[in-house]
């Protein structure tokens, strides 16, 4: 559990994000999410206000010290070696505590069951699937694609229209962002 190994992190460069929804639709399409459930959301603040409008793409941030995992009454979360925070839908009871704890509002609660009651929690898995057998049909049904296991990049960051959304090892992500901000406003 030592943290020397890579820690996978998202980072959205809000000076590049143009709220084109590629990330949230890509995620919904790739994992066949029900409509209205978006693991990744794009939010624009001060829309239309000259000089103040800014957009950002937000989803589970796979925190290093995840509050969701700490408050879960059935402890259905598990944190991978590379820092990706995942959970077991077979254990989850859909109580919503993780949503209350999460500063980013990442947990989603699709409706299921006869009375459309709240089902188990669904959240961004950083395209790393769940506890079921990797790349099995069952894993895909519960969690969607397991692109990380295929050696691929999570779909949202891969298709970001303006390369605003970066994903990967925290050091690499910050290196890219540092390089970008160092040349911004001054040229190479």
């Amino acid at each position: 559990m030592s943290s020397e190994t890579s820690r996978m992190k998202f980072m959205c460069d809000s000076s590049r994000c143009i709220q084109c929804f590629a990330c949230s639709v890509a995620c919904a399409e790739a994992h066949d999410l029900p409509v209205g459930i978006s693991r990744r959301k794009v939010v624009t603040l001060h829309e239309g206000v000259e000089g103040k409008e800014v957009s950002v793409s937000i989803a589970c941030m796979h925190c290093s010290d995840p509050p969701c995992a700490k408050v879960c009454p059935v402890d259905c979360f598990y944190i991978r070696e590379d820092g990706i925070v995942l959970h077991d839908k077979k254990k989850c009871i859909g109580c919503g505590y993780c949503l209350y704890a999460c500063p980013f509002g990442a947990p989603q609660f699709p409706r299921d069951g006869a009375f459309g009651m709240r089902g188990v929690m669904d959240k961004c898995t950083m395209c790393a699937g769940g506890p079921e057998k990797t790349n099995s049909a069952e894993e895909r049904r519960f969690y969607g694609q397991n692109r990380i296991a295929e050696g691929k990049v999570p779909i949202c960051a891969a298709v970001c229209a303006t390369n605003a959304l970066l994903v990967g090892d925290a050091e690499d992500v910050s290196a890219i962002y540092r390089k970008r901000t160092s040349s911004r406003g001054k040229g190479e």
Binding site: I58, K70, D75, G94, C95, Y97, G105
Partner: protein
């Protein structure tokens, strides 16, 4: 029968309407809630809830669920139960309607408390479908409890108002700390029962409200904005209140069960038949007994 169907439909309607409405949690309110932990004067309940839920609630529940019965067990072994003769006059205290409503409330509590505890200690029940059904049962039992709590509140509230006797009762702890039985100052309901009444009814309604907030989660009824909270903070507040109130109710529920089943032998019969023994009234509800004597109802 028709009203029940209408009732269920409205519940479902509420959920679907809430679902379709612009989400109060995942829409533009989202960023509003991301105040970094501990920013000054932010009413951000996030960190508060996380700390309470992750470190305190479960442990305190553990203390109550083990501690309170342990205390009563020692009381039972050391001081023992109270006995009153059954062959004296019987006084009709609880009407059929009282008893029925109390039964309804009892059943709903017998479902609510265990399923609530199952959820809190879900990890030991392995989570998954078992605890999920507990959650659904918890929801259903709430509907049952909602039916019981309102009549119960109205037909007993008059007798439940605090009086001077209650202070005296509390001072001597209801007389349960000494072996000999003296006449205890109490009206129709003694101070302990009054405490339990207020916690169970008013507290119960708060439980229903906060529980419903957590159950529906993404509703847009303007409650959050009324309190000047964001929706997520309203949910966090509901969760905190729900848990704290649950601690109280669990503790007092165990007390109530102990008192009626063990501490005063046969006390539960008064809730089954509606009659209380004259001697029991004389000792445990002395002011009420004198009042009845004065009105020569006995």
């Amino acid at each position: 029968m028709k009203t029940i169907i209408v009732f269920i439909i409205t519940i479902l309607m509420l959920t679907s309407m809430a679902y379709a409405a612009e989400s109060m949690i995942w829409g533009n309110m989202l960023i509003g809630n991301i105040l970094s932990y501990g920013t000054k004067d932010s009413l951000n309940m996030g960190p508060l809830f996380t700390i309470l839920q992750s470190q305190y609630f479960r442990n305190i529940f553990l203390v109550i669920v083990i501690g309170v019965p342990a205390v009563f067990l020692m009381h039972y072994l050391v001081l023992g139960a109270r006995f009153f003769s059954h062959d004296g006059k019987k006084v009709y205290v609880f009407s059929l309607f009282n008893r029925l409503i109390h039964l309804l409330a009892a059943i709903s509590f017998l479902v609510l408390i265990p399923t609530g505890l199952m959820m809190i200690f879900g990890v030991y029940f392995g989570g998954g479908p078992l605890v999920m059904t507990a959650r659904h049962l918890h929801g259903l039992a709430t509907a049952l409890f909602f039916l019981a709590v309102i009549p119960m509140f109205f037909f007993w509230v008059a007798d439940m108002l605090p009086t001077v006797d209650d202070i005296k009762w509390i001072a001597i702890f209801g007389g349960y700390l000494s072996r000999k039985q003296s006449e205890v100052p109490a009206g129709k309901f003694n101070a302990g029962q009054k405490m339990w009444f207020w916690i169970a009814t008013l507290g119960g309604i708060v439980m229903i409200a906060t529980g419903a907030a957590m159950y529906f989660q993404d509703f847009n009824l303007g409650i959050a904005s009324a309190f000047g909270l964001s929706q997520i903070d309203l949910l966090r507040a509901s969760a905190i209140v729900h848990n704290i109130m649950a601690l109280l109710i669990t503790a007092l529920f165990i007390t109530h069960v102990y008192m009626s089943l063990f501490a005063v032998k046969g006390a539960i019969n008064s809730m089954i038949t509606g009659y209380k023994e004259e001697q029991e009234l004389k000792y445990l509800h002395s002011s009420f007994y004198r009042k009845l004597k004065a009105q020569n109802k006995i």
